[in-house]
């Protein structure tokens, strides 16, 4: 008995001592390793690594890399594309940015998503690229370039398209049940109850398990009810706005829809993902749901739903057939009568950008790679995916199957008085999880004070 107690105690003591001893040894070892690392530059030779968000739209990025690799510059320094599955992209990016494996060129959302990297001196200012190749700047819309600029330095080249969030719908389901496309909030609520009465259990598809799709409902209702200024104030540090009457009105509007069973019964939305099974796109394509509030990229997500195609092959699944049959409808988010927001206001992502690592070994090769972003062949690839690129020549390049969708979107963006950047992009990355949890909890419990206090705990960057 005595003996057993002793060995436990001694064993624990030995373990602790070993741990402490080795800790000291390692901090010495680590600091010496650091100097070795910086001396050997650590950047790979003969290639530039391009890292993008892995989703249904990677075929355009694959095209861009292949197009660059065919040029004489590309023969000298190859571009290598890698992807990280969407929901883990932002997190993984931050873990590698200061490591030796940091990508030379990487996908991001501009603004808040790169602020920390810029602050840590990890990003290359693109102003010198613009000087040696003015077309890299003049080919894009200036307002879009500015959304990825910090303190007069440009850090991002647009690489996908502007992504307003809109209401997608299943045309055949709406016409079958005699439901009009909603222009106002009350119309949407009555559509939902009509659909419910006709046996549609989940009138609105929502990937609640992924959490960020839920946020889109908040972004639009806050805009429509309170106008764009509320979130601008919150981002400027005025936490009291979350407790205002307008904030509570937006929350109770959401509650009205949730309570009507718009997103399904028994919190079914929490069992649905965006982009992976069981996905919200599945529900729209298969006629389980009539509506989905989503960013403009949903066009290609729906198109590739259930598709077994990989790489650059065209989508061949039920989603492709759904889109080809003209069953996919889209409309702007409805107006809320009595609210301060404009019906034409948009929420979403301004653009996606490529930013460049300051330590890159081949800045010239990177500059050449970025030229592809405004080439008309690449722009056409993006347009074919339903992405509204932000090059100045975009309107003249719109053609083909996606033309009506893109023209409508172009008009929408062009006349929008306000464009609310997604909250999880506007706040620093360290808050993004808290925002997602807060909105997910609100949908689950409809507890206003819990939501308000969670939002008041956020730490805006400014």
């Amino acid at each position: 008995m005595v003996k057993s107690r002793n060995w436990l105690r001694r064993g624990a003591a030995t373990t602790a001592m070993l741990a402490a001893g080795t800790a000291i040894a390692v901090s010495a070892g680590a600091s010496s390793a650091k100097t070795v690392g910086s001396a050997a530059s650590g950047r790979p030779a003969g290639k530039i690594n391009v890292l993008v968000y892995g989703d249904a739209q990677n075929s355009a990025e694959q095209y861009a890399v292949a197009a660059y690799n065919k040029t004489p510059e590309g023969h000298k320094v190859k571009a290598v594309l890698s992807t990280i599955a969407g929901q883990y992209y932002q997190a993984k990016l931050q873990t590698i940015m200061s490591s030796s494996k940091a990508p030379d060129v990487f996908f991001n959302w501009g603004g808040g998503s790169i602020a920390q990297f810029q602050k840590a001196g990890l990003l290359l200012s693109l102003n010198s690229f613009f000087k040696s190749n003015p077309k890299l700047k003049s080919s894009f819309l200036p307002s879009i370039l500015k959304a990825a600029a910090i303190g007069g330095q440009y850090y991002g080249i647009p690489m996908r398209g502007t992504q307003p969030v809109m209401l997608f719908y299943n045309k055949s389901l709406l016409s079958q049940d005699g439901v009009p496309v909603p222009k106002t909030w009350s119309q949407l609520v009555s559509d939902v109850s009509t659909l419910k009465s006709k046996g549609v259990q989940t009138p609105i598809a929502l990937g609640g398990k992924s959490q960020w799709p839920t946020l889109m409902w908040f972004e639009y209702l806050y805009d429509r009810v309170a106008g764009p200024s509320l979130v601008t104030d919150a981002l400027a540090g005025q936490k009291a706005v979350w407790n205002s009457a307008a904030s509570k009105k937006a929350l109770s509007d959401i509650a009205q829809l949730v309570n009507a069973g718009a997103f399904g019964q028994s919190k079914s939305w929490d069992s649905v993902n965006f982009g992976s099974e069981p996905s919200s796109a599945d529900l729209v394509v298969n006629g389980v749901s009539a509506f989905e509030l989503m960013g403009s990229w949903d066009y290609s997500t729906i198109q590739s739903d259930g598709s077994t195609a990989t790489g650059t092959a065209p989508a061949n699944g039920p989603g492709a057939a759904f889109v080809a049959a003209g069953k996919l409808g889209y409309t702007a988010f409805p107006s809320v009568p009595g609210g301060k927001g404009n019906l034409a206001d948009l929420a979403g992502n301004t653009e996606n950008y490529y930013s460049v690592l300051a330590k890159t070994r081949y800045p010239d090769a990177v500059a050449d790679f970025l030229k592809v972003m405004y080439s008309s062949s690449f722009v056409k690839k993006e347009l074919a995916l339903g992405n509204l690129t932000t090059t100045k020549n975009t309107p003249s390049l719109i053609s083909g199957a996606t033309a009506p969708y893109l023209k409508w979107q172009y008009q929408l963006v062009n006349k929008a008085p306000a464009f609310q950047l997604s909250w999880d992009q506007a706040y620093p990355q360290t808050d993004s999880n808290s925002i997602h949890t807060a909105v997910a909890n609100y949908f689950d419990n409809l507890n206003q004070s819990q939501y308000i206090s969670a939002m008041q705990k956020l730490q805006p960057a400014s």
């Binding site: 741990a19 080795t22 390692v26 997190a91 931050q94 019964q265 999880n433």
Partner: protein, 313 residues
């Protein structure tokens, strides 16, 4: 529990007259010790240091004293995660122990059919936790999986009308069930080995006394399996306290934070929110708790008694 009785070997060699020649020196164990210390114990030291720093993955950590330690205990998600972890662990032990013990004892018989069945039980053991979680996640798809196909089973409120990831009880049920599916074969084997080691003479004596199968089970098998149970339960508890893969793949801690266990919360804090300081605090707590629990369980169930049952036979 052979692993805990190293003194046996020493005692035996002492009695053998202490031949000194050909005995390996301490140096023989050095490579293993150094290696283990470098990659398993050193990180424990580093994590203790990181728990007093602020670090977001960019740049270097800087010392901020006990701030992380103070704030973590005021974090409601953290407090809730303790409860969720405890529930998951207890449910794991109470569901896996009876099934694996009964099947293990049954499979300990040398009959041919039992041998074939036990070979089949093994299948989950060959699959990685990730593969198991992915397969079950696909099977439990409320729209196109089992809940849809077997609506008469899953349609009730017990299974949250088939939306298993939408309510806390159902999601915890899924995690417990998948854990059971995954781990029962392993524990069955442990019990099978334990049951085979019970001396046949005990059963023969009991049979002569007229004891039936159930009396034999409760009076011989169960007491004799005591050390096996301790091992199995310690492994279940340590495994339960640190369940991660299945939560990441099946529920992502949701709905909301309803299945955010302590170790999953550590992952979220560290690798999603980049608060490596608080994540390190959680890691230190995890090590302390798992170590204490293992020691406490071994001792509370009579570690020294265990040795005597073994040596007495």
């Amino acid at each position: 529990m052979t692993m805990l009785t190293e003194d046996r070997g020493l005692a035996r060699s002492k009695s053998s007259g202490g031949v000194k020649v050909g005995r390996p020196s301490f140096l023989w164990s050095l490579p293993a010790v150094v290696y283990f210390a470098l990659f398993a114990l050193l990180p424990l030291g580093v994590v203790a240091w990181l728990s007093f720093t602020k670090w977001n993955g960019i740049g270097a950590p800087h010392w901020i004293g006990t701030a992380n330690w103070k704030s973590i205990f005021q974090d409601p998600v953290m407090i809730k995660s303790f409860k969720i972890t405890a529930i998951l662990t207890v449910l794991g032990v109470v569901t896996q122990t009876p099934v694996s013990m009964l099947i293990g004892v049954w499979a300990a018989g040398y009959q041919k059919n039992r041998a074939i069945l036990s070979a089949l039980y093994f299948v989950p053991l060959l699959m990685s936790a990730a593969a198991i979680a992915i397969v079950w996640f696909s099977l439990l798809n409320p729209y196109f999986g089992l809940p849809h196909e077997l609506h008469f089973v899953f349609g009730g409120s017990l299974f949250n009308h088939g939306y298993l990831f939408s309510s806390q009880p159902a999601a915890i049920g899924v995690l417990t069930f998948v854990g059971m599916w995954q781990w029962t074969p392993f524990h069955t084997l442990i019990y099978q080995g334990g049951a085979r080691a019970i001396p046949e003479v005990l059963y023969q004596a009991a049979a002569i006394d007229g004891a039936g199968r159930y009396r034999q089970f409760f009076h011989i098998t169960l007491p004799q399996l005591r050390n096996t149970m301790v091992t199995s339960i310690v492994l279940m508890v340590v495994g339960g306290l640190t369940t991660f893969d299945s939560i990441l793949i099946l529920t992502q801690g949701g709905p909301g934070t309803a299945t955010t266990s302590t170790s999953y919360y550590m992952y979220v804090q560290g690798f999603s929110d980049f608060n490596f300081g608080p994540a390190s605090v959680i890691a230190v707590l995890l090590v302390v708790v798992t170590t204490l629990v293992s020691i406490a369980l071994v001792r509370a169930t009579g570690w020294d008694k265990m040795r005597s049952t073994q040596e007495g036979l």
